[in-house]
Symmetry: C3
Subunit: 339 residues, 3 copies
């Protein structure tokens, strides 16, 4: 299904190949030698395609799909169209990711340093890197092996990138140390001076911003997201953390490993988030707070206090999510009483 | 009034010329041969200028304006200063747009391909295009006739642009098909990998993002706005839709024709909006929802459910706008009772 | 403490030097000849460092710091570790800013015009400017003395920059007049066409945007922030105003002197803010409003009415901050009553 102008399909594969790659169990009537030529969503899939079903909202699509094969969990087998080969998995979306990655493996650009890049003589560029046209690599920068840095990006003086990083177009990185396999999407700004000054009737006074941004392995930074460098200490993003588009991360923020920050969220200065924290979209978190491991924060919430490990919160100002639901029911009644 | 460093005035015109271009009716005392040299807002207009009045908030400006002529609807004629020539129109702001466009027609840059652009040998560039310095056009890109692509922009491999598109500076476009006369403002990101992965205790697993962004004719995309490409399907923006600055549009979102999305709004993955939907600023819309034709959503609302055609909603979580007003009155009372 | 890859320390200094630069009074047991080699935060400081204490939240850090010297106000002297030299100041954070600026003075890049910049023959570049690679300076631009313009930035035709401006990478500036010492961070967009059109069933009609952006001296514009130009009039940012990252400022907005706009806030068209206004993060302000001098607006508030001089407001829709606290207490009770 993927447009061949943009994606290269490595298939076909047999059902057996696909079951093996994702650890799924073929259903009783599934032919292991069935040829699958592509992946596709339920409503667009045809005979040679494999699809997946995991969101109950799309049960009708599952019942009516024309896919030749489908990844699905046990409980939904009974709704499958007759004749469709099933691959059973307790995590069908994860399994789909593995299957789709077999058909369409992620890949970096072939190694090549554009003659139109501006690379300082003191910069150290690793082996097998791609550096695009009009990209600037300043003095004393270190780029690990196998990195891809696309066009019109600037890596400022002294920055270090680990191996296998992927930096998209129009990015700016300064005052930063990045780990391995870090993905930075287009237009992200990393390491700029934070919003640090003393407000004063005589005019605001700049506070020098003397820290860095430290980014762990396997972090992803979204398009047009901003991560300011630390003021006295560093801004730190833990390994495996995923940050979506248009997020604001202020100076001295720490985010633990494998956390997820959805689009347009803002985290004010010096706040610390734990590991496996999930912050939905458009959340605001005030400064100097501590958000425990595994906390989940609903979209558009406003966080003005510390949140204990494992809490699930919502609202502005935020409360435990069950309280928030009760608040909403009560407020809804207030609105329905007539004026 | 417009600064001649930035704008070229094609005038003067007679009142008659202006009435004709916008279909307005000259008032009884208006001299059709009156010479108008420029447009100007009410509070800055002078004798040779034409202005417009449509927002009652500025009635005092209308009463006191020194403009030589003014576009206005019937009902406000009685407030006009004596001696000012009136052009009557039921839609004075629209008429002003037509008049101002006569004085200052929108125009693209003269055709020219900068010698400092990097254009792949397989790219097809239409006739009469402008391509600015340090812009990158990758392999197999197709650019229609009469396009303008300013500096430091990257159009990635395989992308198609229809004729007469205007792409500003520092833009990134990948995995996308754009229609005719699409306007993309500076720093917009179109077609990047969406925020698609399976969250997991063992570490998050990437789901390949295999779709595209399809943008219809006459769409406008604001500065620093992000539109991620589809995961399995496409992200689709219907013809005539206007998207403001710093908006986030996630993978697989569909927006119908002639909708309007104001600044800093975020639309989560796989949500579908109908035609002529108006979403005010800083709204958040959750994923997998259906928003009907003609829906209007007030600023900062949080949408967590499907919205029926034609509904007007507000609030977090959103309710019909009248309910929201009643909620606000009730909540205001709660705050005034003393603690 | 600052990483020598990124920062150059001009020290050491004596305690006496530091007291002089910030007007602090040495405590009774402070040795004026004590050698201080660097600044550091309380929890990281060592013997040769000077730190500061002003946020009571970090009192434990103050009590346990190993810093050799510390800036502090009178009232907290009693909590200081024994043996630490104290510098007394009524504004210890401001004094720290002055001390840190002595160790690490802000500086621009050495004058140099990159041979890889594209500079129009009619542009006037002042003395001692830095212009980075792949930066575009269009026709009739005027750049004052001592400006720094980093890589991949575009300054469009006719724009004027005062002296000593600092423009970061990947910035776009068009239709604008900037004062002296203006700082524009990476990816900011200044002077683009505003979101101005007449919505209409027949299709939306563009209203020509004929104004400019006028930015006063000493303004700071954050990364990826957007400031649209005026439609009929100008968009104006007063001297000394600080704007954080990812902020949206629509056409015709006026902001007075020394105001502060925190990240991800949006201000809709034609709204006027006074002097010394403080707008916290993620606030939305509707169009055509008047916000008086010295107003303070809490994070995530939604402003839909004029705000009088000096008011402190919060909430969505906003109310005086005390009312908002009472509302929150009342709403919290509603949520705790059980369902």
């Amino acid at each position: 299904m993927a447009d061949i102008r943009f994606y290269q399909n490595t298939g076909p594969y047999t059902l057996q190949d696909l079951a093996a790659i994702c650890g799924a169990t073929p259903g009783p009537q599934a032919n292991p030698n069935l040829i699958i030529i592509d992946v596709a969503p339920l409503h667009k899939a045809e005979k040679g395609h494999i699809s997946f079903f995991h969101n109950p909202k799309y049960l009708d699509h599952f019942k009516e799909t024309k896919a030749g094969a489908c990844l699905v969990s046990e409980e939904y087998v009974k709704y499958a169209p007759k004749g469709m080969a099933l691959l059973l998995s307790p995590k069908p979306y994860r399994a789909y990711g593995q299957v789709a990655s077999l058909f369409y493996p992620s890949s970096k650009r072939d190694p090549n340093i554009s003659p139109h890049a501006s690379i300082h003589s003191t910069a150290k560029i690793g082996k097998n890197c791609y550096i695009g046209p009009f990209t600037v690599i300043e003095a004393h920068v270190t780029i690990g092996d196998g990195c891809e840095i696309k066009s019109n990006t600037t890596i400022e003086a002294g920055v270090e990138l680990g191996s296998e990083c992927s930096i998209d177009t129009n990015v700016t990185i300064s005052h930063a140390i990045l780990g391995k396999r870090v993905v930075v999407k287009a237009g992200a700004r990393i390491g700029q001076k934070g919003f640090g000054f003393q407000m004063d009737e005589e005019g605001h006074l700049d506070i020098p911003q003397l820290g860095r941004v430290i980014i762990g392995d396997d972090v992803e930074v979204g398009s047009n997201t901003c991560i300011d460098r630390g003021s006295e200490s560093d801004t730190i993003i833990g390994c495996g953390t995923r940050i979506d588009n248009l997020v604001q991360i202020a100076h001295n923020v720490h985010i633990g490993e494998n956390s997820v920050i959805v689009a347009q969220t803002g985290i004010a200065g010096s706040t610390h988030l734990g590991r496996f924290v999930v912050v939905a979209g458009q959340v605001g978190i005030a400064g100097h707070l501590s958000i425990g491991d595994g906390v989940r924060i609903a979209a558009q919430s406003g966080i003005m206090r510390d949140i204990e490990k494992g809490e699930v919160v919502a609202g502005y100002p935020s409360v435990p999510v069950r309280e928030w639901h009760r608040q909403n029911i009560a407020i809804k009644k207030l609105g329905q009483k007539g004026s």
